[in-house]
């Protein structure tokens, strides 16, 4: 039944396949600019977090402002079990992910009674509370300085090979998460999530238990955020609250998802690359010439202005806007009759 212009369907498949192929050879293209491999690695992790936000907030419309809570819960669980009990990462990462899912469930149940700004306020408070707890229990958590000496993701010792291995780990994770969430988004579960975003009452009147599906969205979202968070701390080989718990992370991944295209799964990947790599690019331009040096202190500001303009002119996000543009310029085949 679903009729899409033939071109767009192919572009829909070609675009992600081409992007993955390009990202797979990126470390070899960037041999002379190794810092960019690290930046792309961070963008991959960021994309995982942004996609986890998208399946909950972009699809069901329950806007979470504190997704770093789930990332942090998993990161702390995995890191502390690894540091104190010396458990291997193939045990601590799944346990960290499970901790995030439990937190997701704990938030989901009261969240069912809250709507709009009330729900968002609760999610906003959670990572703040978690950060306070980390500081109060600093003897155990390491406080602001965190903990170091975590088992690394890769045991390769050569710097460049290690950097490349980490890049591929993060890319593999991002691609797997993108496939997993795309399959969910295109299934009946995804359809129900989108319908809940538009009218909960209409979905309930269709015989569907909206509470059950909203909890499911929390479970899937916190699972992905947790998996990413648990792996992320081992990427850093240290547990630093400022990398996994701050509100700036929560807000950043909302920006990435909104800029890329909310409710599209692939859009948040585009947005994450734009957000992480874009900021770095502005810094690089500033460093390239003395006349542009002033930009160094303006990088974030310039990037935020670009973001505001994008939200203003491409409100649906980069990816949906690109598709809309293609739809306008490419001839659209006559739709088939529905029957």
């Amino acid at each position: 039944m679903r009729e899409r212009a033939g071109y767009l369907r192919y572009i829909g498949y070609l675009f992600p396949a081409g992007t993955v192929a390009l990202l797979a050879i990126a470390p070899y293209l960037l041999v002379h600019r190794p810092s960019w491999i690290t930046i792309l690695t961070l963008a991959n992790f960021f994309a995982v977090f942004a996609m986890s936000w998208d399946i909950l907030s972009g699809y069901t419309g329950q806007i979470s402002f504190g997704h770093s809570f789930f990332i942090g819960a998993a990161g702390y669980t995995s890191a502390l079990l690894n540091v104190y009990l010396h458990w291997p990462i193939w045990i601590t990462i799944p346990l960290g992910t499970a901790a995030a899912v439990i937190m997701g469930l704990l938030v989901a149940v009261p969240a069912l009674r809250l709507r709009g700004p009330y729900f968002s306020l609760v999610t906003l408070i959670l990572p703040v509370v978690a950060l306070k707890l980390v500081l109060i229990l600093s003897k155990f958590t390491g406080g602001e300085l965190g903990k170091s000496g975590l088992t690394p993701l890769s045991s390769v010792t050569s710097f460049f090979a290690h950097q490349r291995a980490l890049y591929f780990d993060s890319l593999g994770l991002m691609v797997l998460v993108a496939i997993f969430l795309t399959l969910i988004a295109r299934s009946k579960v995804g359809k129900i999530f989108e319908a809940i975003r538009e009218s909960e009452e209409a979905v309930e009147a269709a015989g569907i238990n909206t509470a059950k599906y909203k909890i499911l969205a929390f479970i899937i979202s916190s699972f992905v955020a947790g998996l990413g968070g648990a792996i992320y701390v081992h990427y850093w080989e240290s547990l630093i609250p400022s990398t996994i718990l701050p509100l700036t992370l929560s807000v950043g991944l909302i920006i990435a998802a909104v800029v890329g295209g909310m409710g599209t799964i692939i859009g948040p990947i585009v947005g994450s690359y734009f957000f992480i790599a874009g900021q770095e690019y502005v810094k690089e331009v500033a460093r390239s010439s003395s006349s542009l040096k002033f930009l160094e202190r303006w990088d974030v500001l310039i990037f935020l202005v670009i973001l505001i303009l994008l939200i203003f002119f491409a409100r649906r996000g980069l990816l949906p806007s690109l598709y809309a543009l293609l739809r306008r310029f490419l001839p659209t085949p006559t739709p088939k009759r529905s029957k």
């Binding site: 009729e3 129900i192 989108e194 009218s199 209409a202 269709a206 238990n209 059950k212 029957k339």
Partner: protein
């Protein structure tokens, strides 16, 4: 005789206002029951109580012999009752087809779904209400009467044994009332049980088999349409209700 739907001494109040006061009624299988009353008589509240949008303070609702009092909406729908809302509740970013399709999706997360059978159900519902040419359109592109048809198609697609139609003619032109009446007539010929709410008695009379009139949350009269229309208590209730009620009888 026990009806497909039974309301027993149903009561609901909001603060000091008693909206439904000990109402009992029975809906027989296969009939079209007109459920009428002046504005504010409690008709929509009764629908909300049946559909689980509100919980009754007292009383019992049974459907096919099963006590469904206080059940949540999705359970009531899955038990076999569907409601057509007075105001359209469509998904604006979805096509008409996708709007109807939601009603065919199973509530079970891991249920095996026969996509073909589901599409067939959507097409059947679309055809029944005369929207077969509009399935790929967005609901916002549809005229008012077609939106009403969409609501009926969504309700039909859940596979209900009983349909509750809440003011299906409200806000429609005479021509549109005629179009929607044709759809309701089709449903009647299919042998569906329907409860039709309206405050406009005239529009209902030729469609319904039986009429129940309520006023101030209590049953005022019950019987054949022509009997009820000439009942002095009904006429008085309508005259007391104001301008709307000039349309009555």
């Amino acid at each position: 005789m026990t009806g497909i739907l039974e309301l027993e001494r149903l009561r609901k109040s909001f603060g000091g206002l008693v909206a439904v006061n000990g109402l009992s009624l029975s809906v027989a299988e296969g009939e079209i029951l007109g459920f009428i009353g002046p504005n504010g008589a409690g008709k929509t509240t009764v629908f909300n109580l049946i559909m689980g949008s509100l919980r009754p303070d007292a009383g019992r609702i049974t459907f096919q012999g099963k006590d469904i009092t206080g059940w949540r909406t999705y359970r009531v729908v899955n038990a076999g009752i569907a409601r057509v809302f007075q105001l359209s509740r469509y998904l604006k970013h979805k096509t008409v087809f996708e709007n109807i399709e939601i009603s065919t999706i199973s509530n079970k997360i891991f249920a095996r779904e026969d996509r073909r059978a589901r599409e067939e159900r959507v097409l059947e519902a679309g055809e029944l209400v005369g929207l077969e040419e509009d399935l790929q359109k967005k609901p916002s592109a549809l005229p008012h009467a077609s939106l009403r048809r969409l609501e009926i198609a969504k309700a039909i697609a859940t596979g209900p044994k009983l349909l509750l139609l809440d003011e299906p003619f409200a806000g429609l032109s005479a021509q549109e009332v005629e179009e929607v009446s044709v759809v309701i007539d089709k449903l009647r010929r299919e042998g569906r049980t329907i409860v039709l709410v309206d405050h406009n008695m005239r529009g209902l009379m030729r469609l319904v088999d039986r009429v129940v009139v309520i006023s101030f949350g209590e049953k005022l009269a019950e019987g054949l349409p022509e009997e009820v229309a000439h009942d002095p208590r009904v006429q008085e209730a309508y005259l007391a209700g104001g301008r709307d009620n000039d349309e009555a009888a």
